[in-house]
Symmetry: C2
């Protein structure tokens, strides 16, 4: 069973955006964004994902990856 991984670091670096800034723009707490960024949540609201994509000017595919498990 593969899994979905969220990779924010690359796009954040590309946009020179800190976690605090991004959280502010998206409208969630930095604590929650930290959890999202470190894959500590097992679901995400489209409103949140939308905010991230808008703030980072990217597509969901730029930050969401499907990782099949080796086997």
């Amino acid at each position: 069973m593969g899994k979905i991984v969220l990779e924010l670091d690359v796009m954040m670096a590309k946009r020179h955006m800190s976690l605090g800034e991004l959280a502010e723009i998206v409208g969630i707490t930095n604590v929650n964004l930290s959890k999202i960024k470190n894959n500590k949540v097992n679901a995400i609201r489209f409103s949140t994902l939308s905010g991230i994509c808008q703030a980072l000017d990217c597509e969901p595919g730029d930050i969401l990856k499907y990782v099949p498990d080796e086997e």
Copy 2:
């Protein structure tokens, strides 16, 4: 404020997969998958998204799009 749109029809057609089949493979009811497919949910569990990607052999970016609103 843009929004996230989930587009399953294209990949499902490409894989010749019906809603019923896909629901069975992913492990959710066809009723729920229907709601997901028609954007009646405002969040999604990564486990569900993962199952869909695995079943359709695709990436999240193939079915999730960020749509900015015209203005």
